[in-house]
């Protein structure tokens, strides 16, 4: 199941050119671009690992693209996203965030129903990938591929 988080997630995956264009847009707006990755796709997992520091002073998207490429190569079986932080007063929040790389098999989620008191039902989402320990959730089951 393809997870849809962040901007553009219902579109086909962005090409490198399109990613560059989006990053350039963020830079031109004065937003700080950061690269993040995770292997826990739960929708409530909002704080992903940071790949380096946010880039505050770059003026061209190729610099951020360099980091995106490096992150995707280092974490091939993880989700990688680019987020742009708008530090201007009154906003001070993530202005744009989109996934740029995702693991190839995405097993998706299981819906757990828990019966509570008074026949109430509680629902929770459980990513199948989270059954395996962190770092081995995607890719080949026998660990990292070459």
């Amino acid at each position: 199941m393809r997870i849809t988080q962040g901007t553009f997630s219902y579109l086909p995956d962005l090409t490198a050119n399109e990613i560059m264009g989006q990053i350039q847009y963020a830079i031109d707006r004065g937003w700080a671009v950061a690269v993040e990755f995770t292997d826990d796709p739960h929708p409530r997992n909002v704080l992903w690992e940071m790949w380096g520091l946010p880039m505050f002073e770059i003026s061209d998207a190729s610099a951020a693209m360099h980091e995106v490429t490096a992150c995707v190569q280092a974490w091939p079986d993880h989700y990688v996203r680019v987020s742009a932080y708008d530090a201007s007063l009154g906003r001070q929040t993530t202005a744009l965030s989109f996934i740029v790389s995702r693991p190839v098999p995405e097993p998706g989620f299981r819906l757990d129903r828990q019966e509570a008191g008074d026949r109430r039902i509680r629902y929770s989402l459980h990513p199948y990938a989270a059954d395996r320990p962190s770092g081995e959730r995607y890719g080949h089951p026998n660990g990292r591929r070459g």
Binding site: L14, T15, A16, Q24, D60, A63, V68, T69, V100
Partner: protein, 387 residues
């Protein structure tokens, strides 16, 4: 789910370039190669929507994945048949090469070897564009440069303008200038240098990185110095991101030669070694005139003669720093003019505020050392009160 598979199926990079994560990772767009380059650089957002992808991108992985927009853009400058002819003048005009070069001529006095090199680079970029339209191979030339020359010969100023020029010619996407010295690149402890250098390089991407007095990076007397590490990262970036930034090393000739001797890799990766000639007295006078007119001052005819003598004397003195010395001299001229006006008191008009007289020039210490050619005693006295 279904759409997902369709996207994967029809060979778009949509899934391809990112999900497959081959060694290259991404197919980077190259701004200068295509006719759409300049337009794409001007409008990043447009590119994002496939409006102006980077022209006929010739990289192997990027062949079939043209967005529809890119194809439409090619349409207006389609491939030419082998026997077609192109009007070079008109193409040059479209690139605004002549305008760029005229501005270079207008803004810099002398420096003919430098201008000649910039002219050649502009011509090469134009020819490359035309070659691309004939489907000939046109790899991007490496434009890393080394500026050598005495102090005050315009190295830094030229680097600043070069970024803009290359941006206008469509070689650089942004054309901003980032100036770095040893402090900005070399860290203070183990593991500090690499992130620091990369940070600066990332800031400079899309533009020009000027490393002033680059020879300070390498300190042969201290083998545990981290400068060597910075140089290695620099070299690696210069090679891998040739399309994204232009590195310019600047410094004095002799020390630069020593630096290159100890770092042969650096010397060979820099294609353009440009030596800035020293300014002659005529060049310096013209520079002075331009500086003065920019600040809306004027030398009286006698003052101009005196200033020429001043420059001739100053050139022979130690620590003469070319145009920089001229700029300092002009600042002192303004000081003396202001002092003279205030001391004289009374009424002044616009002409008085603009004109620099002979006395202002003759007041310089440079004349005092040798035999002063003509120094009216009365003026001496009035200046003595101020100084």
């Amino acid at each position: 789910m279904k759409r997902d598979r369709e996207v994967k199926g029809d060979g778009e990079v949509g899934e391809g370039a990112l999900a497959r994560r081959d060694a290259r990772g991404f197919a980077m767009p190259r701004p200068g190669t295509g006719p759409a380059g300049a337009a794409a650089a001007a409008d990043g957002m447009g590119r994002a929507h496939g409006g102006q992808a980077a022209g006929p991108d010739r990289q192997p992985g990027a062949g079939p994945d043209r967005t529809p927009g890119a194809r439409a853009d090619d349409g207006d400058r389609e491939r030419l048949p082998a026997d077609a002819l192109v009007d070079l003048d008109r193409e040059g005009k479209a690139l605004q090469i002549s305008g760029v070069l005229e501005r270079l001529d207008a803004e810099f006095v002398g420096l003919s070897p430098v201008k000649e090199r910039v002219r050649e680079i502009a011509a090469l970029l134009l020819v490359d564009r035309l070659r691309a339209r004939y489907a000939l191979s046109s790899s991007r030339p490496s434009l890393h440069m080394c500026f050598t020359g005495s102090p005050g010969t315009g190295k830094t100023t030229m680097a600043m303008h070069l970024g803009e020029l290359l941006h206008e010619l469509g070689y650089l996407r942004k054309g901003q200038l980032v100036t770095a010295t040893r402090d900005d690149l070399v860290g203070q402890y183990v593991g500090h240098t690499a992130p620091k250098t990369k940070e600066v390089l990332k800031r400079a991407m899309g533009g020009v990185l000027l490393i002033d007095e680059a020879y300070y990076l390498y300190r042969p007397d201290n083998e545990r110095d981290y400068g060597q590490e910075a140089i290695e990262i620099l070299l690696q970036f210069m090679e891998a991101h040739r399309d994204d930034l232009v590195v310019i090393l600047a410094g004095y000739k002799e020390r630069m030669d020593v630096f290159f001797c100890s770092n042969p890799g650096m010397a060979s990766r820099i294609g353009h070694h440009i030596d800035f000639p020293d300014f002659g007295i005529c060049d310096l006078m013209e520079i002075a005139e331009r500086m003065l007119s920019r600040e809306e001052y004027r030398l009286s005819p006698q003052a101009a003669v005196a200033f020429r003598e001043y420059v001739a004397l100053r050139m022979r003195q130690p620590r003469f720093a070319g145009a920089r010395s001229i700029r300092n001299a002009i600042d002192r001229l303004r000081l003396r003019q202001a002092g003279r006006l205030v001391a004289a008191g009374g009424q002044v008009g616009r002409a008085d505020l603009v004109e620099i007289t002979e006395a202002d020039v003759r007041g310089s210490r440079v004349f005092g050392d040798g035999s002063p050619p003509a120094r009216p005693a009365a003026l001496d006295g009035s200046l003595g009160q101020i100084a």
